[in-house]
Amino acid sequence: MKLRLENIGHAFLGRTVIEGMNLAFAAGEIVALVGPSGCGKTTLMQIAAGLVVPLRGRVHRAYRRHAIVFQEPRLLPWLTARDNIAYGLACAGTPRRHRREIAAARAREVGLEADDLGKFPAELSGGMRQRAAVARALAVAPDVVFLDEPFSAVDVGLRRMMQDHLAQAAAREGFCALFVTHDLGEAARIADRLVVLSARRRGIVDLRAVPGRPGARDERFVFDLVAAWSREEAFAELLDGAGRLQ
């Protein structure tokens, strides 16, 4: 197991958000964490990534490097796209020449052009910024990648492309990914495993494997899967307010 959460509990200002959570992530698997807004998905991811220290429980990490893709791009406005993509490498002490090469290669993978690399974030479109954020995460050759609703603000076409890219990269490079989303279609498309959180019951209400291979499922299959899930009790809370499918 690359990453194991043991009996995690957390509260903000005395209000419990997460309680007695146990989760384990194996190498190479993509785990989608779904749940209604405010149920603690971001908090759980930040605990797993070490950005928030949990009040209770332990996080066991058996890997060298991780990377995060946030909901917003979080690029440094004063660095060019190239230097932003290479930022994680710079933190890891990779020599300048080498990290520029890696940044260029990672940028190409997510569909950024060579002359976008010299631009500042303000000169890039929203979609291009999020591509750069994904490239920055994958550039450090992570063992674990945390993604917090990374594609919720990008258009449908780009979202599809980034989902496929992520699934392929995970299969090729063998990193494990914790993918937070509130979109069941997205989870059905790219996850190996699904973890459903509840806000009311403050914990995991369902845990299941998704049939098929991430990134290789066709549209019809994904659609039927989501339709089937949306009739189940486990997803009721998630789809309340968001509107059940049909």
Binding site: A67, I68, G88, C91, G118, F120
Partner: protein
């Protein structure tokens, strides 16, 4: 080489912007000169000499050896005071921005210093340091320090915590995070504060010199006042303004432009400043 062409284009754009802002500034100044001329024609020579006479008086003064020395003397005092105030104020403000305890400790002190009228500081400094350059420098420090402090504090306090978390997630230590995340953001606050502080430094230095009769432009101003030489008073006033504007526009602003190229990068042409 697209990369080098890009940097040349940036340099040309920078020069264009610099000249354009100088031109726009000159327009405003000429409007002011027109109003000045009108007031002169209304109230006469004795109350308000006209701009041209003032400039000619200034040109006359410039040929005298005493003026250069006076400007140098005042400039040195203003600059020494500014550098010390900017250094101490920026460092203290940065620490206060990071540490809540330091903020609680330092904020009342700075608020108190801000509340004391500069004239009291001048009198106190004259008592403590005598009618020397020291009193001018000391007054400049107390006048300019709170400005730098407040700028640095505000800059650090408003840093983007999300970017900080991002850098932490990629394993950046505290020093690297300060350099990469906080400092570039802080700089825009610092340059704004330093611009105010350098102007204050010149004005307060002249004031302290005048009251302490300790040479420099302030000393020359005291002499002109004693002789009721109004054109010379005006000329010296214009000189101080020019010095203050010069140290801002010729030293601070180009540094700011260089440090903040990323800020202008995303703006379309024509709405720059």
């Amino acid at each position: 080489m697209p990369a080098s062409m890009r940097s040349e284009a940036r340099a040309a754009a920078w020069l264009g912007r610099y000249l354009w802002s100088a031109w726009a500034g000159a327009t405003g100044l000429l409007c002011l000169a027109a109003a000045w001329q009108a007031a002169h024609e209304l109230y006469g020579d004795f109350v308000l000499p006209d701009p041209l006479t003032t400039l000619m008086t200034l040109a006359d003064l410039a040929t005298e050896p005493g003026l250069g020395a006076a400007v140098k003397e005042t400039g040195l005092r203003a600059l020494t005071g500014f550098l010390l105030a900017a250094g101490i104020g920026t460092a203290a403000g940065t620490i206060a921005g990071y540490s809540f305890a330091a903020l609680r400790l330092m904020k009342p002190v700075v608020t108190f210093i801000l509340g004391v009228p500069p004239i009291s500081w001048i009198v106190l400094a004259l008592i403590w340091f005598g009618a020397s350059g020291g009193s001018a420098v000391a007054t400049v420090i107390v006048a300019a320090l709170p400005i730098s402090f407040a700028g640095a504090l505000e800059g650090v306090a408003t840093r983007d915590r999300g970017l900080d978390a991002m850098a932490r997630a990629f394993g950046a230590g505290p020093l690297r995070r300060f350099r990469d995340v906080t400092l570039p953001h802080l700089l825009s606050y610092l340059f704004a504060a330093w611009t105010t502080a350098i102007g204050t430094a010149w004005k307060v230095a002249v004031m302290a010199e005048l009251l302490g009769n300790s040479g420099g432009i302030g000393g020359a101003l005291a002499k002109a006042r004693a002789l009721f030489d109004i054109p010379q008073v005006m000329a010296l006033t214009v000189l101080v303004v020019l010095c203050a504007l010069g140290s801002d526009h010729l030293v601070l602003q180009p540094l700011r432009e260089a440090a903040e190229r990323w800020r202008t990068a995303g703006q379309p042409w024509g709405v720059k400043r």
